[in-house]
């Protein structure tokens, strides 16, 4: 088990602040946070490259660590094969075995054709795959991954994510995976730690993290497009003349957030148990690859994701009148 105990580190303008964290053996832990949150710095401390000003990091000593840097750190004086084989060569494996293992890993990662290439001729994505291969071939007990898919295009990214997950399932290494991509965090993590400005503001299952953001900032970051603030009185928050029913009873100043896919559009008012039902006017629809993002004015602008199918079936031209419905339980409330 990896244990961080009140780790504090000052970088002048920026601090990692009394961060405590436990990651179980074999767990897939994702550290999720926006750019500049301190993810890389935290990972560097876990890898022992930086020493905390105070606090302790236990459980990583004498473990085989597979460290993959955001900027790859491929050895420029070796070709791709030599890079991947590096750890095995160090371990003095026999040549035949090294060859087989490198071939196998690079096949898996789709870089088998690059093995004799010089590092500086690789594209960003190719470099990242080589870096992954170099760590993977060592079958480490703990992976420390710094945005391992950030430079990859979506299909390669999905492919590699799948591969990392399979690897995790098979060998059960502990994985600490740093990313700023919440889709990736959701898809991969057993648990997610949410890092904002050097503070771990949430540490929970993906479900909890996504459905119960702890602050307005977190909600924004997690892709909640409908975030409002106001005063809650008797479960009602009034904005621009409409009353939204919330699970919270009372609050002087609160924020609420509603996921754009927790909202239903309908031609007529829906008869249902959902407390929040408002009539509005379509502002416009933005086509995304998997869905259409509708903007509806109900006094405030609401973002609502619908399928292409619904988009085709409903009269959703700009200006059309439409009903909007969402459950009280879909309304997340936080005080800051």
């Amino acid at each position: 088990m990896i244990h961080l105990d009140k780790v504090y580190k000052n970088y002048g303008d920026f601090q990692i602040q009394d961060l405590s964290l436990e990651v179980g053996t074999g767990e897939y832990f994702v550290i999720l946070g926006p750019s500049g949150a301190g993810k890389t710095l935290l990972l560097e401390m876990m890898a022992g490259l930086e020493v905390p000003d105070s606090g302790h990091i236990n459980g990583l000593e004498k473990r085989r660590i597979g460290l993959i840097y955001q900027d790859y750190m491929l050895f420029p004086h070796m070709n791709v094969f030599e890079n991947i084989a590096y750890g095995l060569t160090i371990r003095k494996e026999d040549k035949q075995k090294i060859n087989t293992q490198v071939q196998e890993v690079s096949q898996q990662l789709g870089i088998a054709g690059l093995l004799s290439r010089n590092i500086h001729t690789l594209s960003g994505g190719e470099k990242q795959r080589v870096a992954i291969a170099r760590a993977m071939v060592m079958r480490p007990e703990v992976y420390l991954l710094d945005e391992p898919t950030a430079a990859l295009d979506l299909s390669t990214k999905i492919q590699i994510q799948r591969m990392i997950l399979e690897l995790h399932k098979k060998d059960q290494p502990t994985v600490i995976h740093v990313t700023h991509d919440f889709e990736e965090a959701l898809a991969m993590g057993d648990r997610i730690g949410l890092l904002f400005s050097g503070q771990l503001i949430q540490n929970d299952t993906p479900e909890k993290v996504f459905n119960h953001p702890v602050s307005k900032k977190a909600a924004n970051f997690l892709g909640y497009k409908n975030v409002f603030s106001g005063r809650i009185k008797d479960h009602l928050l009034n904005i621009n003349g409409i009353d939204i029913t919330t699970p919270e009873k009372q609050a002087e100043k609160a924020y609420i957030a509603v996921r754009s896919n927790d909202i239903i559009l309908s031609k007529a008012r829906l008869e249902s148990s959902a407390r929040n039902a408002f009539s509005g006017r379509v502002i416009k629809g933005i086509k995304r690859t998997n869905h259409v993002e509708m903007i509806v004015d109900i006094g405030v602008w609401l973002y609502v994701d619908i399928t292409y199918q619904s988009f085709r079936e409903m009269p959703l031209d700009p200006g059309s009148r439409i009903w909007v419905t969402f459950k009280t339980s879909a309304v997340k409330v936080f005080l800051h």
């Binding site: 890898a47 597979g66 590096y86 160090i90």
Partner: protein, 250 residues
Amino acid sequence: MKAKPVFYFLGTLLILFIVIPVFRMIFSVTPQEAGSALMEKELMGSVLLTLRASLWATLIALVLGIPLSFILARHHFFGKKVIEGLIDIPVVIPHTAAGIALLMVWGRESVFTKITGISIPGTEAAVSIGMLFVSLPFLINSVKEGFKMIDVRYEKTAVSLGASPWKAFTSVSLPMAKKSIISGSIMMWARGISEFGAVVILAYHPMTAPVLIFERFQNFGLDYAAPATVVLILITLVIFVILRAVGDKQ
């Protein structure tokens, strides 16, 4: 980016500043004279000695100096600036003074000789010691800069892949710094070859090429010193260009 014509102009000035004296000297020697100088045993012997002694100095400096450069590039400790200053002293110290200082330490009356019974002055070892002293800083500084340029995380990555610190050093830091090491070695070697002041005090014999050239000039004048000089310049120039070409290929 295209350099402006004025850059070419200024650069050419500088090249002429170096090349004109060198060529005047080279062309003051007829090919016959140069040829017979090349055949001459004494001269070639001392040229070889010079190249060899400087090579020894460079090798010693590599073995002892690479670790030092690495420490200076990677570690921060109290008094580091002072140590870096000390390493630069041989650059500023007048060569004659350097020779005298070395003689005090390596001479007949030195502790070294008293303990070991080995007398250094006047041997090839003495030549190497003189060269080592005056040209060492050029190697150390070059290699140090080379190590500084390597992101320490490359070494950390190697360690995370199972390498011992020593192995990480030999398999990552060293090859990554290769270019600086090669170019530093070439500079040091060259600087050693040219040394006269310090070497002549430590070892008049065996005679290095600069000492021989000096002696010829003193005894017989320019006409006799020039062919030897030209031969030395040409031989080292050829080796230089080859070494640099090899170094750049790496």
